[in-house]
Amino acid sequence: MKKKKAKLRKRVIIAVVFAAILVLIATFSGVLAPNDPYATNSELIRQAPSAAYLFGTDNLGRCVFSRVLIGARTTIASTFFLVAVSFLIGIVVGMLCGFYGGIVDDILMRIADLMLAFPQMVVAIAVAGILGGGLGGAMIALGITMWTSFARLARSHTLSIKNEPYITAARLQGKSGLQIMMTHIMPNILEPVLINALTQIGTTMIGISGLSFLGLGVVAPQAEWGSMISEARAYIQIAPWAVLFPAAATVITIVVFNYLGDAVMEYRNAE
Amino acid sequence: MSEYLLKIDRLSASYGDDDIVKDVSCGITPGEIVCIVGESGSGKSTLIKAIHGMSELRITGGSIFFGNEEISSLTVKERKKLMGSEIGLIPQDPGSSFNPIRKLSAQFREAMAGHGMAYDEDRIDGLLKKIGLQQGKAVLGNRPFELSGGMNQRIAIAAAMLFEPRLLLCDEATSALDVTTAGAVVDELLKIRESRGTAILLVTHHLGIARRMADNIGIMKDGRLIEYGNTEKIFDAPENEYTRKLIRDVPRLKK
């Protein structure tokens, strides 16, 4: 048992290291990029990869390597932001519902149920489409349904601990509901909900880049992997590198974060 | 060596780090009834599992012989060939030894097909009647989850007896039954031994049943076989202090 646990811990550490590297690359992409990702150059159109342009150049002569780096920032930052906001909304709603119950709980949970009745990507496409594109619109579109999973989880964990003796004791001491939630409930439900957030990163990334690919996410010329692939697929025959490198970056990033989610989940389940 | 049907030699077995069965040796000859008595956690059920070999259990030392074959070193697949026709098992929790959501008739059909037998409802019904289940055919149309624990137990016993094994392993075979039915099952087991010469290894926490059935009794505690001998000797002149305590604690069962 202990051996298995140690092995799982090692997996978590490896995953964290890889994820950290990606986050660092994204954070310092401005410094790391060898060329200006937005500088067009009509003389360097669709150049094959070379020492100066590691991943080649695209249809407008922009450096694909630099754009992939800057794109990492767009994708990772917007994913983190979206997951974090959904997480916060979800945990607050879930905790309030679970702790107070009653009519507020009924209404909010009915809304969450309803959200489940809509397929997420269908809603996202319709909403992002109506909002007329843009990264903000895409994030709202995905967030509309996303908070519900966090809320459900937070609620069920709150329900399972709210009658524990230490909560009752805190009540008897005359602590207010808010105090109890902040000092006793929140710390105890944080971990499972955080792990859920971690496992959502990969799907969210797929969602954001999918919307961008459809032209419903980031607006050109901003660099984002989905939209880069979408733009460059028109001339994939002539300059496959302009598609293949952002594609590889997308896959690697999603794989790393999915692996991280899996590893943490397994580690926790082994307890 | 070969006079034994089953011979256990210095057997140790574990699920994880610590051995649950420790250095156990005993044997059973054809037609003999051996009862292993111990409290829960003594390792007696694990001993049964080690013998049938169908559970995730690691044999960490010693060996098990069936006839002249060392079965403890065989793969699960090879050992499975013995199951049913050579070695039968009446498990501790018979209800969950069947697929809870499939009709019993289908499960009997598959079990019989596994031994190259055609499905024979009359035969199963006959067996069920012997152990006091009257509407056998109707019961076979049910799924195990719809039946009581006692019913499932009797059906599991019938399923084990169906293939006339040379060795029948019983893991607390009567624990889910009321006294009358338990008595019927014990009688039926004795009859099987009588008519077919089936050897029975029965594991129980119930000394009364052991006294009524067994030729030889073994006492298990903390994974070890601390005393072994014929039934009269165990009851009349127990050597071990723990055995004496067990005998004292038994409520007298009508003999």
């Binding site: 997420q120 990507m121 909403v127 999918g210 896959v251 | 959501i101 598959e110």
Partner: protein, 306 residues
């Protein structure tokens, strides 16, 4: 059981009505004026009078609830409104698109199940074997691939490099292969993982040991017992994937120009053709809710304990 189903159907109807209301609300709140969009796309100079006349004509000036009631009443009678883009009725367009999307969705579902059911079961049975490791790796990667990316890669390698398929699908059987594959690959990845987990859970159940001790053949244990018991869960897994499949088909249909409802909705989004978008959301939501309802019922039929 019957009472429960009746109750669930009543719930279902309420959910569908709310669904239609939310859909309508969404379009109502949407920024941008369809009348203005329409006029400018026709090249009409947008003056205040012209705009107001157009809004009047398109019925945009009446109160919200009146418009919702009319729209919803129309839907019940098969009249889903007329397109803002070309004044053609929406319902036949949606129906034609839905037919093609269903073909695509079924093809991809069948492909992914044909792959994932045997692989999922085999890797659960041969847990920690080389096969299991390969299957797990492949399904993990498949699951991490966005389907737009798969479709672009498939197009590049199979159409352009190897010249095996036409680039534009446009409804032919041959053209169905790539879009169906693009949808099937990530789905197969997810199914395989879930079926593996589900099978492993069943294999750990005590009844498997019980059947083995009776000498039941492994084949019978696996197919008639383990898979039988897992199938309820597998239906649920598939039903839940339908939502992802719907979103994915919008992307894939757009890429391959497959004339399905997803391509229709992307064209409508670009034209701010609200009646078509509303129809799309309503249809997809309804299908999703109904399929999940059916899978719930099936689950109870297959495992009557719950």
């Amino acid at each position: 059981m019957k009472k429960q189903i009746a109750k669930r159907i009543a719930e279902l109807i309420v959910i569908l009505i709310v669904l239609s209301f939310l859909t309508f609300l969404l379009m109502y709140l949407a920024p941008g004026d369809p009348a203005e969009k329409r006029l400018s796309s026709q090249g009409v100079a947008v003056t205040k009078e012209v705009l107001q006349a157009e809004q009047e004509r398109m019925g945009l000036l009446r109160p919200f609830m009146v418009r919702y009631g009319e729209w919803f009443g129309g839907i019940l009678h098969g009249d889903w409104g007329v397109s803002f883009k070309d004044d053609m009725p929406v319902a036949p367009k949606l129906a034609a698109g839905l037919k093609n999307t269903t073909i695509l969705a079924l093809a991809s579902l069948i492909i992914s199940l044909i792959v994932s059911v045997p692989l999922g079961i085999a890797s659960a049975v041969k847990k920690n074997s080389i096969l299991d490791h390969i299957v797990r790796l492949l399904s993990f990667i498949g699951n991490a691939l966005p389907n737009f990316l798969i479709s672009v890669l498939l197009m590049y390698f199979l159409c352009i490099q190897l010249n095996l398929f036409p680039v534009v699908a446009s409804g032919s059987v041959q053209g169905l292969c790539l879009p169906a594959l693009s949808l099937a690959i990530p789905m197969a990845g997810r199914f395989t993982r879930q079926i593996r987990t589900e099978t492993m859970e069943q294999l750990e159940q005590e009844y498997v040991t019980g059947l083995r001790t009776r000498g039941v053949r492994e084949k019978d244990i696996l197919i008639h017992n383990v898979f039988h018991n897992a199938s309820g869960h597998i239906f649920t897994i598939v039903a839940l994937q339908i939502g992802t499949l719907m979103g994915g088909s919008v992307v894939i249909e757009t890429i391959f120009r497959w004339p399905g409802i997803g391509k229709l909705v992307m064209d409508s989004i670009n034209a701010r053709d609200y009646p078509t978008i509303m129809g799309f959301v309503l249809i997809m939501g309804t299908i999703y809710v109904v399929i999940n309802f059916i899978s719930d019922v099936l689950y109870h039929v297959l495992d009557p304990r719950v």
